[in-house]
């Protein structure tokens, strides 16, 4: 198991390295953003570019880039107007709290609901309850998140005025008004997560409930309730738990659209900014970040399968 985990991690680091190299070269190949003349930061940035080896071959540049990261945790400085001259890594860290909080609230809110709905639908399989829940899941998964965001903003924020239209400014992340102003964004994110968990749980539990060991459990004399709670849930969790771990890793990444609509000063918004302002150092950091999140979530899911269920230790025999 440990060997498998190490193997996977090594493979992941390799993949991350290749992707970083590819993106780095592709970004450095782009023409540089012109710097405003006469600005006090301009000579600083020009000197920096020289130090980063902009005139040298790409592989040398990549070497300097990696050396700076590993020795000084230096990802470069912002080159565009809004955050001119700021340290990219520090800026990135300062944008973290709102994204993490919103996603965390959303997950804490939606996982129990999703699993409960899924269990409910599976137990009442092929009744109107199941059909209703499955149809709603279908709708929630298909409809893009900006449509929910719009409906929530229109109904709760504009018509009823229960919540503010956009997120409150300031850095008092744990105050009550801040929490209230986050609710619309949290809700918009929750729909998709709830639907996803409901679907997974329902599919898994339906399969477990029809398997033969359930029949055996009943034959042994367990009531349906006992059999479900003791045997079916455990087996169903083999699939659901890794999904939960995966989504906890995913909370870091945020959503570009939701953050834009509700003016959340988070990672997604920063990413969008770096794209529109063509701030390459910022873009590079965020690209590496998003790639890493995706890869880590993937292996966490895979490895946790192995930890939870000894039957699925893929590749461990190698």
């Amino acid at each position: 198991m440990v060997k498998y985990a190490i193997q996977r991690t090594a493979l992941m680091l390799f993949t991350l390295f290749i992707i970083t190299l590819m993106c780095f070269v592709l970004i450095r190949m782009l023409p540089l953003a012109p710097l405003p003349i006469g600005d006090p930061h301009t000579p600083v940035i020009e000197a920096r570019r020289e130090a980063l080896g902009y005139n040298k071959p790409y592989l040398v540049q990549f070497g300097i880039f990696l050396r700076n990261i590993f020795t000084k945790w230096d990802w470069g400085i912002c080159e565009s107007a809004k955050y001119y001259g700021k340290d990219v890594a520090a800026l990135f860290a300062s944008k973290m709290p709102p994204t993490v909080l919103i996603n965390l609230y959303s997950i804490i809110f939606s996982i129990p609901i999703g699993i409960a709905l899924g269990i409910f639908a599976a137990l009442k399989k092929n009744t109107w309850i199941d059909y209703t829940i499955s149809t709603l899941v279908m709708v929630c998964i298909s409809v893009p998140s900006f449509v929910y965001a719009f409906l929530i903003q229109l109904l709760f924020c504009h018509k009823i005025q229960l919540f503010p239209l956009v997120m409150k400014g300031g850095t008092d992340w744990f105050s009550w008004p801040m929490f209230v102003s986050m609710i619309p964004a949290v809700l918009s994110l929750a729909f998709g997560t709830i639907a996803g968990f409901t679907r997974t749980t329902r599919a898994e539990l339906t399969e477990v409930l029809t398997s033969e060991f359930m029949l055996l459990a009943r034959t042994k004399g367990l009531t349906k309730r006992q059999a479900t709670v003791r045997h079916a849930f455990k087996n169903c969790m083999v699939v659901v738990l890794p999904a939960i771990f995966g989504s906890f890793i995913g909370i870091l990444s945020g959503s570009l659209i939701i953050e834009k609509i509700f003016s959340v000063p988070g990672i997604g918004e920063l990413y969008l900014y770096s794209i529109n302002a063509l701030d390459y150092p910022l873009f590079m950091l965020l690209t590496v970040f998003y790639t890493a999140i995706g890869l880590v979530a993937g292996i966490v899911v895979d490895i946790s399968y192995g930890f939870i269920d000894p039957r699925i230790r893929m590749g461990s025999k190698k």
Binding site: M138, V139, P144
Partner: protein
């Protein structure tokens, strides 16, 4: 009896049934193929059939709507901005839809009278219906008074009423000629301020903001109307012929004895009161505004714009899924058939590609290629770059499932080449699964495409006029004034995606009955 089966002489062999009559009856029914079977199963699934019809309807809508709409996606009206759905014919039936209604609240009686007066003068019923009265008690100079305010629905297209416009003599003549021809009145008599406010002093008038829609006598400068004995407005038009800027020989309003003056002279041109709605008809050769889905913040017809955006989304999604199907099928076939080292190397490559977030791919392709090969092509490359991986994995799985089966061994023994084995014997077996996932890829592509255009990362409006994502992001901005501008594109895209998913699920169940009811 002696049975010696080891050395049977050759002449003892005879054909058992060379000329014999076979008594088995031939099958009367036609053999049912794999696809026909799937079709029958598909038809039993009511919701998927309904979804298929909805998709068909939406596709037809996107083809037809830009054709039947009187506007093109480049027509931008600068007055009818963010206007709600309106159709002149339906509006006349007065059934509460397509009547251009918007809600206006906290209007007092004077404002209501003004709205009704616009209706009376121009014949365009601005005031639609009253939907609520608010009563507030307040103290005014120590006296308790009840102030009533009304919440009403008004026709936003007519609400503009009359505007003052300075036009040239030629234009004035042209409008008159058009009026005579069509019988629609654009120019209305000029108003005489002294008659509107007979009691006001020159000092009062200095603070009056002139409203060309106040054509009746008022008792004060707050525009409280004065009614005559029958409860009608008292007109306050100019009757002094010497003020006329140009001759007027066209239709006159009801109650005009020929003395009303329709234009005020201004150096080289005339100042006239124009009913904007009818002026619009004059500009459009008599066509009335006709916006089934209303207009967006650029004054574009949403009915047409949604069709234009949807055309692109649909064609693009089908194209992407077809290309991904081809690449993925070939890649997956090679992986699955050869296995071993080749499989592992190809798997690493697709692993690395699938690790790059899609947004990053889209942006890098846009930055690098958009100028060289165009926005759409670079966008297409971005989708193809990572999109085929899922399809390849699927094909690979199917190949692993089938390649060890006996019929493949038999074909191999008969000397079939690798290519023949792959594409003649194994691939057709996985076709059902692949087609299904191809259909399920379409909503995914539409979703990502809409998200990227919504965020403005990809801008297609220069090429195609608009895109659904752009329409929605514009609608989001004007959510408070014009929720319809977001609602209609959102409704369209939601319906499309839901139907595609339902349709795809139905197809999957039909092709692969064992997975019925399992959702992933």
């Amino acid at each position: 009896m002696e049975n010696n089966y080891t050395h049977i002489p050759q002449e003892k062999f005879a054909f058992a049934q060379k000329d014999a009559v076979i008594h088995d009856t031939k099958f009367d029914t036609k053999a049912r193929g794999y696809f026909a079977d799937a079709l029958i199963r598909f038809k039993k699934n009511k919701s998927s059939v309904a979804a298929a019809y909805i998709i068909l309807f939406l596709v037809i809508f996107s083809i037809v709507s830009p054709i039947i709409s009187p506007y093109s996606v480049y027509d931008k009206d600068n007055v009818f901005i963010n206007h709600p759905p309106f159709n002149p014919t339906v509006a006349e039936w007065n059934i509460g839809i397509l009547d251009g209604a918007v809600t206006r609240d906290s209007l007092n009686e004077v404002a209501i009278a003004r709205l009704k007066a616009i209706g009376e003068e121009t014949g365009l019923e601005v005031y639609l219906r009253n939907i609520g009265v608010d009563e507030t008690e307040m103290l005014i100079r120590g006296k308790k008074t009840i102030r009533k305010t009304y919440k009403v629905e008004v026709n936003k297209y007519y609400e503009q009423g009359i505007i003052e416009k300075t036009i040239s003599y030629e234009e004035f003549e042209k409008i008159q000629a058009w009026q005579n021809e069509s019988g629609v009145q654009v120019i209305f008599p000029a108003i005489d301020l002294d008659k509107v406010y007979p009691d006001a002093t020159a000092e009062d008038l200095r603070y009056v903001s002139l409203d060309p829609n106040i054509w009746y006598q008022c008792s004060d400068t707050k525009n409280t109307p004065v009614y005559d004995a029958d409860g009608n407005f008292i007109p306050a038009y100019v009757t002094d012929a010497s003020k006329a800027g140009a001759e007027y020989n066209s239709i006159r309003i009801k109650g005009d004895d020929g003395s009303y003056v329709y234009s005020i002279g201004k150096s080289g041109s005339v100042s006239v009161r124009i009913c904007y709605y009818n002026y619009y008809r004059y500009l459009k050769n008599g066509e009335q505004p006709n916006y089934f889905f209303g207009t967006d913040q650029y004054g574009r017809d949403l009915f047409c714009a949604i069709g234009v955006g949807a055309r692109f989304s649909l064609v693009f999604a089908v194209l992407v899924s077809a290309i991904n199907l081809t690449i993925g099928a070939v890649y997956g076939s090679i992986q699955g058939y050869y296995g071993g080292m080749i499989d592992m190397i190809l798997d690493r490559i697709s692993d690395i590609l699938s690790g790059v977030p899609f947004t990053v791919v889209a942006i890098l392709f846009k930055l690098h290629l958009a100028e060289k090969v165009g926005v759409v092509a670079s966008f297409l490359f971005a989708f193809v770059m990572t999109g085929w991986i899922g399809m390849a994995a699927l094909t690979r799985k199917q190949f692993y499932r089938f390649k060890g089966q006996e019929y493949i061994l038999a074909a191999k023994t008969l000397g079939a080449s690798d290519k023949r084995l792959m594409f003649k014997h194994i691939f057709p077996n996985s076709l059902g699964t692949i087609i299904t996932s191809c259909v399920l890829v379409i909503p995914g592509v539409i979703n990502s495409e809409t998200s990227l255009t919504y965020l403005g990362i990809i801008n297609l409006s220069e090429l195609f006029g608009t895109s659904i994502g752009e329409l929605m992001s514009l609608g989001q901005e004007t959510m408070k004034d014009a929720p319809h501008a977001m609602l209609f594109p959102a409704l369209f895209i939601s319906l499309l995606l839901i139907s595609f998913n339902l349709f795809g699920n139905g197809l999957r169940d039909a092709f692969n009955p064992s997975t019925r009811g399992v959702d992933d």
